[in-house]
Symmetry: D2
């Protein structure tokens, strides 16, 4: 049942999605007429609601995907196509302790914590406190009580935790953090990196030669199709690049 | 510490990976010489081990990714690039109850259970009992005690559960299961499908028009690079197709 | 040497390209200042020219690529990535006689004629005379005297030519033209099709079963990179779909 | 009509293609039975021929695409997907004079000459004479009398021609040839490069800063579909990388 304060995903007749927080008396304006958002309280998710122009909208249950895709951002975010793969590559499940460096807007923080909860914990480092505030806000919106400890600290100074199950690094010069990663990571366990440029990948691969064994360098492309059974075809344009992913494991050095 | 019965990922000098179960006295033969697998017992993950030819191998900790990639298979499997995205799209986290129809070799079953554990549960249906036996075996190898209930039953007869958080369907003619999905799924909640052909996507989209709201049709491509900092370039060939993914949500009908 | 009436490709300091026809007294305004276009007359291609703001622009020689990319359009055009492949697949070289049906804005017409000249000829059919006028205009801008005969006629009524070396069809329902194609094409010779949707490809493949042997169904993706040696990376977005290409050859029926 | 000495493309019932030179008395063995190749003499292209097992094969007319795809090779070749685009980017048409450096197996040589003939000419340089012999042989097989002059010479020593319309470079360290390119190319005219690695692209882009204006860095991907109207889907695997393409134009230096 939809309650006051819940987020709902309002979907227009042509499939446009709006994420709305439900409040009494709130009206949400769309190109297809106004929606009386308060009227959703007490109804079931999946219900239809008529706009002031008589158009049918549906009120759906958002998933973590919808929250992550819509984080308020001051940075480039990590997209679900990449985040889902990162979680599997790093093996994050309930109980895992994970370090993330480069909180940014907190999109990956959210996904890691979602995967690690209820018994794990994410330690998320960023040297810019305004990003940590933003990430906290984005995390709160999901409605999950996710286990994250934020730290305003440069990764080069070392991470406070030891024997973590996995590490993910999303900063410009990850080479400078490899000693910190090595100190904190369980032996044989994985670390991942996201890097926008090929030059960064080359630099990182060189630096990883000492103390790490590289498993994979890859990129993931998501291609959407128009939702039309009689005219099935890909969208005209797509995101062509978010970043290169690099995965490695700590070994003896 | 590596114990008898653990799986380790043995990595050769040129990066070839072998998943091995550790046993006393076991010898594993490679093109780079034999490895005394028993000698790993009591050592740390990440340690190096010399082959009989004096080559250095590393013994790494496998993650769920490595198990899923290597499931014993009698069917086409769902790959990590797709499985990670499916988990986020369906919003699977600890505590979720999920129905899967089309167990196959159990690769997605493993990922869903890994995401839902310890407080959730996966109900995995397949009409072919030999596949369920195979999936059980694959699940067991991961070493996780994952919460899965297997059922040998055709999806068309209906699923036994009600009000599940999400459903995933991987069968040839998913159109015939939509009534079963609708009966078992919480209103407003997501269902996903994997389909090899464009024709199947068209048929499914038509059938979804009643009782479901489609969010996305997409495909995910993973492109690997050679791990060489001085000659960074994509692999020569790649998997060009696993399947089309379709995501929808249950609405009033 | 640049002469009055020539087209030049003016390139701004950051790499933005403008195709300009050179005229005495003409001034071209850009965000980087005005360019005295007339001053280019008598200079060499490749020369630099200063804008009114003191910025350096280069005046380059456009190739057929630049003309085709910039055709005035009232329709979806066929892009160079597809057109180049079509020319090779159809084997168009000087002396070839080619039928095109679906002139549209004339982008492929231009490329086919460019490949077939000086001794070949393109017969381009469209039932909409305004498109043929547009194509003529686009063809004229290239400055080449390209051998094209335009015809305002529906392909279903048959093409006037016999024993042509190749045919290319870019219309909504190519199935209806297959008899016309078969009548006009040399036996064993190729025909190509561009189709936006997967459903059209399925329909066409079924129709081709009589009288044609299909060689290939494919799509071509072009992915651009940012021109920055220190930060090499793909563009953020790309064209994800222009159309599916189908190639077949006429056989006994 | 098929004559002795012609190449034909024999296509099996399931679409497998074989390029065969027609000779009296020649028998060609396939998994579907033997084909009496000599019996094709005097018949039309597109005709059917029965194998010794009673299976229907078609004898099709090969196009330049088929020859280029099947060049005898001692090197990585340039594929039609790239070659077609290169021709348009460089603006090669009848009458153009083009320098190619890095003949290799002659696949691009063939395409450039096919585009430039009958009034143009390709000057193809390679320092390894065995490659030039191979390229000559491949060129001859096409049956076209294509206008190519081969030269065994290192590009660093300079090309013999002046004021050519376009240049294409396919060697490991194109940076070392830029002075030669600049000397031989018409001002404002295009030069293209094919490079397997990202590192090479970075090095080249830096070197091009003097005397050239870069238009584009890109890669072209061709994705094939299975030829099945009822089960339309991409092939399982695809070529994921041939090379990065770089296009630039000569400017004042």
């Amino acid at each position: 049942m939809i309650r006051e304060g819940d987020f709902v995903l309002l979907v227009s007749p042509e499939g446009k999605e709006f994420m709305i927080q439900v409040q009494k008396g709130k009206v949400f304006g769309t190109h297809r007429g106004n929606i009386d958002v308060g009227s959703l309280i007490g109804r079931e998710f999946g219900c239809s609601v008529l706009s002031s122009k008589g158009e049918v909208f549906f009120a759906l249950k958002p998933t973590i995907y919808d929250f992550v895709k819509r984080v308020k951002r001051k940075t480039q975010i990590i997209y679900p196509k990449d985040a889902g793969y990162i979680v599997l590559r790093l093996g994050i499940t309930s109980g895992c302790r994970v370090i993330e460096c480069g909180t940014g807007s907190g999109s990956l923080t959210t996904v890691l914590a979602f995967a690690a909860h209820p018994f794990g914990r994410v330690y998320s480092y960023d040297m810019r406190s305004e990003f940590i505030e933003l990430a906290k806000e984005n995390l709160k919106r999901t409605g999950f009580d996710l286990p994250v400890t934020f730290k305003v600290k440069r990764g080069e100074e070392g991470f406070d935790e030891r024997d973590v199950d996995a590490v993910f690094i999303d900063v410009k010069t990850p080479e400078t953090l490899l000693d910190s990663v090595w100190q904190s990571l369980k032996p044989g366990h994985p670390v991942g990196f996201l890097l926008p440029t090929a030059n960064q990948v080359s630099s990182l691969l060189k630096a990883l030669e000492r103390g790490f064994c590289v498993s994979e360098v890859c990129e993931i492309l998501l291609r959407r199709y128009k939702i039309n059974p009689d005219r099935l075809r890909p969208d005209d344009i797509m995101n062509a690049h978010t970043g290169y992913l690099v995965f490695a494991r700590k070994v003896e050095r």
